[in-house]
Symmetry: C2
Subunit: 244 residues, 2 copies
């Protein structure tokens, strides 16, 4: 696979690379004049073939070809509402969710959220998502909001979505809920919103609020999984249902 570089607002023609991207292309990947790469705009879902046009001390210049829609985009709108937790758990979840096709990630502060990350963390998570998209070949990256209060987070995601709330005590298996999901047809796949609590799970009041907001409580079985395992397992099952 050719080196892929994320670039904001790409356009055809000659452009200097931002400093970080220039260093990455020439020092880590040792690209030089004439070497081919692909540039992509993770916000716009567009990409283009490009080549290194010139390297000197002050700048690395790329010649960007015609823009085209990104080759690999998620087949379905998939919003992950995720309770915030300790340490760098959300970093790992952002990485997994990007690879597994989340189109929007909404961190939320729950009753049992022991960590309450500042809004500025959203910039860091977005960088992690863009890097994960670059590595896995995905042509866009999920939108990531600053952490929202739980009641606001429940309103996220498009109308008409299948809304699922993971709860080990639920009686309905996730598989039964996913069986109702139409396979992803281009442009016509039903959106999905998945709500996963923090370590320790959602509180009783939060589960009720989720149901009132249209979420169906579903279970992956009686074992008490870590929140990051729940995320990857559920998104994997949805990806498979989407034809992955």
């Amino acid at each position: 696979m050719k080196l892929r570089l994320p670039l904001a607002a790409i356009a055809a023609g000659l452009h200097p690379l931002p400093h970080d991207a220039a260093a990455y292309a020439t020092r880590v990947h040792r690209l030089g004049p004439g070497d081919a790469l692909v540039v992509f705009d993770p916000d716009g879902g567009v990409e283009a073939d490009a080549e290194i046009a010139g390297v000197d001390r002050r700048a690395v210049t790329v010649r960007v070809g015609e823009l085209r829609p990104a080759t690999l985009l998620p087949a379905r709108s998939l919003t992950l509402i995720q309770g915030t937790g300790k340490g760098d758990k959300l970093d790992a979840i952002v990485r997994d969710a990007t690879e597994l096709g989340a189109t929007s990630i909404v961190p939320t502060l729950c009753e049992r959220s022991v960590a309450r990350p500042e809004g500025a963390r959203a910039l860091r998570w977005r960088r992690i998502a863009v890097e994960a998209a670059r590595q896995c070949g995905r042509g866009d990256a999920p939108q990531i909001a600053a952490p929202l209060p739980f009641a606001e987070a429940l309103r996220e995601g498009p109308a008409g979505a299948l809304r699922l709330c993971l709860d080990p005590a639920a009686t309905r298996p996730l598989g039964a809920a996913l069986a109702l999901l139409t396979p992803a047809a281009p442009g016509a796949a039903q959106p999905v919103v998945v709500l996963v609590g923090p370590e320790g799970g959602l509180g009783a009041g939060e589960l009720s609020a989720a149901e009132e907001a249209g979420f169906v409580r579903v279970t992956l079985g009686p074992l008490v999984l870590r929140t990051e395992t729940v995320c990857a397992a559920v998104l994997g099952a949805i990806l498979v249902r989407s034809g992955g």
Copy 2:
């Protein structure tokens, strides 16, 4: 949830706890005489209610009640053959796979395995699996072999299993293969063997050898996922198919 402690070869009656378990119960969880816990044998799939009978400087003694079959065991035989990789990736995979119901984990040395862990690592992985089982409430822990050469690893798993080889270049979606899998009925679920390559994937010769050994090549889609993401996503999809 009561504290769960893994104990080898448990039997009803009064027993001293091994040193580590004693320290964990009394210092970390601050249990004292009369406090209830559950002991389980991760090799035998049996468990029992227990209580702390005595604590003194030299020993912590537990009174173990009648043994019973473990309440929560995987619904299906599920063997994960996993290419070894860098650093502690396999530690994370063992943890995920234990939570998601793997019954056997077979690390294997592949063409592109940059790390070739020694056989002694299997003891460490087993400890990680037992701890993951304890935390998630599972009554057993997966068997974990020392790393095997690839050709030998391909022979692992029970006869009659659905054998799946993850390959981003495959044309058959994982979902199509899983649709053939019968839902897990008690005692009658079809076994599954899943083969996941190391970072960088399986080589062409390895893919052919897997097909000759009865594996079906399946894909989670065209994105190039990290090997640990593949494991969690695939095992999640199988768990959902098993009624989880």
